[in-house]
């Protein structure tokens, strides 16, 4: 009687473990030094990463959660539709994200579809990720130039201190991008050190905040580019509400700033 064929090739547990460790370690060693280190894997960070990686810039995104995409999975009030105002839909077109027109100048897309497409676009462009990794501090050089970040595993932060005296490690990069949303973690760290002073975001004013966020996107401090809602916190701009066009365009502008500075 013929033996039933197995679907999968037999591989032992130890080989699986070796493959994970080896794959992770090789990539991590390579990306201990990169051209651009993006802190925060939300829409603006992904957009920066995607655009610069397409131009061959070695890019690592550090994300504190297991999942990438930040708030782009869902719109306001946990409803999974995301909106963009014109001309943000041009980026949706570019990424192949389907959408519908809601009213003149406003478009709505499925959050999961939009977010997964953006993540895939960043991956396809060559961006690498360190997820479940928390930003802890900045690496500074002469003249307080930002040239890297100190990071640690996210779970270290969530456990009792007695068992989590785990030293962080440092990653170096020519540019660091703060795309950590309203928290503006990197900028805030510079503020703690007395190097920068943030203002905090103002009241919500959707009509104006998107333009202002894009217009203020750029290098806030030597070596540090700020994108997305971190821009609003840094410069005290109005908060935005559940619309994402400015996140995508701010990311694109951040990428343009980096590419220009790399020339």
């Amino acid at each position: 009687m013929a033996q039933k064929r197995q679907i999968f090739t037999p591989v032992s547990e130890k080989e699986v473990t070796r493959a994970i460790v080896d794959g992770f370690a090789r990539q991590f060693i390579e990306y201990v030094e990169s051209d651009c280190l993006i802190i925060g894997g939300g829409p603006s960070g992904l957009m920066v990463g995607r655009d610069i990686a397409l131009k061959g810039v070695k890019t690592l995104i550090v994300e504190r959660n297991n999942y990438i995409g930040g708030g782009f999975w869902i719109g306001g009030y946990l409803m999974n539709k995301v909106t963009v105002r014109e001309p943000g839909q041009k980026i949706l077109d570019e990424l192949g994200i389907p959408y519908e027109k809601a009213v003149k100048g406003l478009y709505v897309a499925d959050g999961p579809h939009a977010c997964s497409k953006l993540i895939a676009a960043a991956c396809d462009a060559g961006v690498k990720f360190a997820n479940m990794t928390m930003f802890d501090d900045v690496v500074l050089r002469e003249g307080n130039q930002v040239c890297g970040a100190v990071v640690n595993w996210t779970p270290v932060n969530a456990l009792p201190r007695e068992i989590t005296c785990v030293d962080p490690i440092a990653l170096e990069a020519r540019f660091v991008v703060d795309s950590t949303g309203h928290d503006a973690c990197v900028v805030k760290k510079l503020e703690e050190r007395g190097i920068l002073k943030t203002v905090g975001f103002g009241a919500m004013w959707v009509e104006q905040s998107e333009d202002l966020v894009v217009e203020h996107t750029g290098e806030a401090h030597p070596g540090l580019i700020v994108t997305g809602m971190a821009v609003a916190t840094t410069y005290g701009l109005p908060r935005m509400g559940p619309t994402f066009g400015a996140m995508l365009l701010s990311g694109r502008k951040g990428a343009q700033v980096i590419l220009q500075k790399m020339k």
Binding site: V103, L196, K197, V199, W205, E207, Q208, S209, D211, L212, E215, H216, G218, E219, A220, H221, V226, T234, Y235, G236, L237, P238
Partner: protein, 259 residues
């Protein structure tokens, strides 16, 4: 009375359909003083000056309307934003609240070049938001106009500063979409790009003129175009539906000037 030889009208940014020629003709007709449209306020400044002005504007943002203004060193990103704004005569973006008094000083340095300030009634029409500190309720308020040398009139301020009908805010707080509320209250307040803006700002320009000649831009008569309306409905009434254009007292002053 300080009668100017000219009324000079300057522009800053995209004024969203404001017709300065029509407005100037109105001023000339009412005052018999020649008007000149002087164009973009930054049109003739040097690169060095523009750099200086960008830094000044960057440092005069009102960060917290609930606190007195404290000057500080602007971020490089803020200065760059101002640099781009200044260099683009059709700049459309607004939303930053600037300290009005400081803004006026900077503009004054750009257009008051020696001689007496009384020779020209200078009015800058801007699309930026200007605020002044209100001692009564201890906070900054956006303003439509700041009278002085020069006078500043904000097209954006005209929409954002005078309060809309109370019901608009109550329903907005209840979560009704702004677009729906705009339909419901259509006509009762001015919106960006509103076709009535030129007509309404004629009255504000006359307030600037009266400030220039008498030091007092306002009138307490709510039917007079010099009435200082704090509500959109008051503004629309005094500028468009008043019993007369100017109250008898101000009309008499204008008649005296014309003859």
């Amino acid at each position: 009375m300080n009668l100017p030889r000219f009324i000079d009208l300057y522009e800053e940014g995209d004024l969203n359909g404001l017709d300065l020629i029509q407005l100037g003709e109105y001023l000339e007709e009412r005052t018999h003083i020649r008007f000149r449209v002087r164009g973009n306020i930054y049109g003739k400044i040097t690169r060095k000056k523009s750099e200086e002005v960008a830094k000044e504007f960057g440092g005069m943002r009102v960060r917290d309307p609930g606190k007195r203004f404290v000057s500080g060193v602007p971020f490089q990103g803020e200065v760059e934003y101002e640099r781009r704004r200044i260099s683009n005569p059709t700049w459309r973006i607004f939303g930053i609240l600037y300290e009005g008094g400081l803004y006026q000083t900077t503009i004054s340095k750009l257009i008051v070049k020696g001689g007496s300030v009384f020779n020209r009634c200078m009015i800058l029409f801007t699309n930026q938001l200007l605020g002044t500190w209100d001692r009564d309720n201890s906070r900054y308020h956006a303003r439509v106009s700041l009278y002085g040398f020069p006078n500043l009139i904000s097209v954006t301020g005209l929409v954002e500063a005078p309060a809309k009908p109370k019901g608009f805010y109550l329903k907005k707080q209840m979560g009704l979409p702004v677009e729906e509320l705009k339909k419901e209250y259509q006509g009762r307040f001015l919106d960006h790009g509103d076709l009535r803006v030129t007509e309404v700002l004629k009255g504000y320009a006359m307030q600037a003129f009266f400030f220039h000649i008498t030091g007092d831009p306002f009138c307490e008569d709510r039917d007079c175009r010099l009435f200082n309306g704090h509500w959109q409905e008051e503004v629309l009434h005094s500028q468009m539906d008043g019993q007369y254009e100017f109250c008898p007292r101000h009309e008499k002053i204008l008649e005296g000037i014309r003859h």
